[in-house]
């Protein structure tokens, strides 16, 4: 090797060495000294977290028909800071989504990083936004609740707010089960922005949303809603309630409340979200007579044949005039209930031991919560049971015909079911099953007996009396050919707080009954609040609704007629 070559080699070696040294120094600087900052910056560029809210669970009827389910839809969002032309973007977006242009412009000219333009679009609107491909405006996936049966079971199902949180009914009561847990996943993005999954974060069974199966039967619910709504609209009642319960299990088969708030109205009227079945407290009137009567029969204070003089329609007691709607002379106890005599019941009240009857009525569930875990429930008003000092000499006589007590619809129905099933108070049930995503049952409701409230023998006697109330009494319009029905009408005057007396113009008409005898399976309660008609009597208004529902129920459940001829002769 000559001298020149040696020099060249030395030069190259030194150059390579210094270059490598410089690179090494830079590498040491980047890797050791700037490591943390650079790693953070890189992470921000390729690593990101995605929050995924699972689709909310479904709510189904007892036969698996879907009442509510969720589906992913697009929402329109905007990122004003990256918009190229805010003015024209606002104009085009407002035009496409039918929004106020000025309002949208003021939003787009703000310095906000993100804002919702319109949430939960229909598929046509989303398609238009997608096709327009505007800078700074895009679509974000969200889930939306759908109701294939429209307004069916409105009050019981409840509703969710825009963020899919339950705000009423089942949606609120079982919000945790229906929602499931939000899953947070870490993902990476490559140079082209494509997503790369780095970890698979599968939710556990407990974290997944559950499907809820109700005890409601869609067909029965539909029949009940149709029949109640017809009369509700016809008589322009303020409110109306209809409930159907399986007397042996306590399961609710239909749950109807009127009015239904329209989709646009309900947002502004939170009181309409109230579940009237649980929250509406009313004086029951004559439908309540069954319970003091049951007590009197149980305690052998009277018998169906005992005669009561009904004072020809007016009876003065402790300075108060009690009236019957028809002038009656002497009636047997069966007739007192059959013709719904207030005077006969008040006279019965005079011989009842108040220390015994109040706990007895409380055992039926009056003044107590029903056990349904739905929000907004009232225990009713039963002050004379809780506070003995509030009782007067009149308390018991008027209680015997359903005044001086506030009850909810569920309390009345459940108490009638207890009479129907032989004296066992069942816990009312609305939830039948909880199922996982695959449809497997993970929890199942069992019938729950709360307590015995009457002996079987007493309930038999009471049922015979109530059957006669339908055969020839005030409940005659509840009768249908070929089937034996027991029931009781109720027409309660509403208390006018302004005047401090019972109103002559505002009434609550009701009918509660059960069928088919001799082995009743279902109890039905029908209530109309302030019907605007001269035929406001429970027997005229609520009993026919009951009859029409029974007619359709016996067809639906294929129940053949029983004893066609009644064993009770009509009393003239």
């Amino acid at each position: 090797m000559n001298k020149f070559n040696k020099k060249r080699l030395l030069f190259c070696s030194l150059f390579s060495f210094f270059l490598s040294f410089a690179f090494t120094l830079r590498l040491v600087y980047l890797q050791l000294l700037k490591h943390k900052i650079l790693a953070e910056q890189a992470k921000k560029q390729f690593l990101y977290f995605e929050q995924k809210e699972p689709l909310r669970g479904m709510i189904l009827d007892r036969n698996g028909t879907i009442f509510v389910l969720s589906k992913e839809v697009d929402s329109c969002a905007a990122w004003p800071v990256i918009m190229k032309d805010r003015q024209s973007t606002a104009e085009q977006t407002a035009h496409l989504l039918n929004l106020q242009e000025q309002e949208l412009k003021s939003k787009f000219f703000s310095s906000r990083l993100f804002l919702w333009v319109k949430r939960k679009l229909d598929s046509g609107e989303a398609e238009k936004i997608r096709n327009l491909n505007l800078s700074g405006v895009g679509l974000v996936k969200e889930s939306k609740r759908f109701y294939p049966e429209n307004d069916l079971l409105w009050h019981l199902l409840g509703r969710v707010n825009i963020d899919n949180q339950g705000i009423s009914g089942i949606e609120l009561a079982y919000d945790d089960l229906l929602r499931g847990k939000v899953i947070r996943e870490s993902k990476e993005r490559d140079g082209q922005g494509r997503k790369i999954r780095k970890s698979i974060n599968t939710p556990t069974e407990d974290e997944k949303p559950k499907n809820i199966v109700l005890t409601i039967d869609k067909t029965i619910q539909h029949i009940a809603e149709r029949e109640l709504t017809k009369v509700y609209e016809q008589v322009q009642a303020k409110k109306a309630i209809l409930l159907i319960q399986d007397v042996r299990t306590g399961e609710i088969l239909a749950w109807v409340c009127r009015p239904i708030p329209g989709e646009d109205k309900w947002k502004h009227t939170p009181e309409l979200l109230n579940n009237l079945v649980l929250s509406e407290v009313f004086e029951p009137g004559s439908t309540f007579k069954v319970f003091p009567a049951g007590f009197a029969l149980e305690e052998k204070l009277t018998s169906p044949q005992e005669k009561f003089f009904c004072e020809n329609g007016v009876f003065q007691i402790h300075g108060m005039k009690i009236r019957d709607h028809e002038k009656r002379g002497t009636l047997t106890f069966t007739e007192v209930l059959g013709y719904s005599s207030n005077i006969g019941m008040a006279k019965l009240g005079l011989r009842i031991d108040k220390e015994k009857i109040y706990p007895h009525l409380a055992n039926f569930g009056f003044g107590r919560m029903s056990g349904l875990s739905l929000s907004g429930e009232s225990p009713g008003i039963f002050l004379s049971e809780k506070y003995p000092q509030s009782r007067s000499a009149l308390s018991l006589p008027i209680l015997c015909f359903g005044q001086g007590i506030g009850v909810t619809a569920i309390q009345i129905l459940n108490a009638y079911s207890a009479v129907a099933n032989g004296g066992l108070l069942m816990e009312p049930q609305i939830l039948k099953e909880i199922r996982n995503e695959k449809g497997e049952i993970i929890w199942q409701a069992q019938p729950l007996v709360i307590r015995r409230v009457l002996s079987e023998k007493t309930t038999q006697v009471l049922t015979e009396i109530l059957e006669q109330a339908v055969e020839w009494g005030t409940g005659i319009k509840a009768k249908i050919k070929g089937y034996r029905i027991a029931g009781k009408t109720g027409t309660a005057q509403k208390f006018d707080f302004a005047k401090g007396e019972y109103s002559d113009t505002r009434h609550i008409s009701s009918f509660c009954g059960y069928f088919p005898l001799p082995n009743p399976r279902w109890a039905i309660l029908v209530i109309f609040d302030e019907p605007q008609t001269s035929n406001y009597w429970g027997g005229m208004l609520a009993a026919p609704v009951f009859a029409r529902i029974v007619e359709e129920m016996v067809r639906y459940f294929q129940i053949p007629p029983g004893e066609i001829e009644t064993k009770y002769a009509k009393i003239k």
């Binding site: 689709l55 992913e72 759908f146 050919k481 294929q558 053949p560």
Partner: protein
């Protein structure tokens, strides 16, 4: 020397395997993401069909069709006789 060459070769193999594994992880990551999107699409389609089935089998709709299109009406009491089960 042979021994060192063998170690070098072994090291190269380990490195190669590690690189291959990393590439596979990324490749499968893409695939999982695509499949998940596909599942989401089908789930959404499924929900859409459920809604449609629900709407078409709703009793309100059935009653409307029976009444308005087919001219049917509700049977009156006594027109349907339910026979006892044998």
């Amino acid at each position: 020397m042979k021994k060192y060459l063998f170690y070098l070769f072994f090291l190269f193999l380990v490195l190669f395997f590690y690189l291959w594994q990393q590439v596979q992880v990324i490749r499968l990551g893409y695939k999982i993401e695509l499949i998940e999107k596909e599942i989401e699409h089908y789930n959404n389609q499924n929900q859409y069909l459920r809604i449609k089935i629900g709407e078409l089998t709703s009793l309100d709709y059935a009653e409307q069709v029976a009444r308005d299109k087919l001219g049917m009406e509700t049977a009156k009491n006594g027109e349907v006789i339910i026979l006892p089960k044998p």
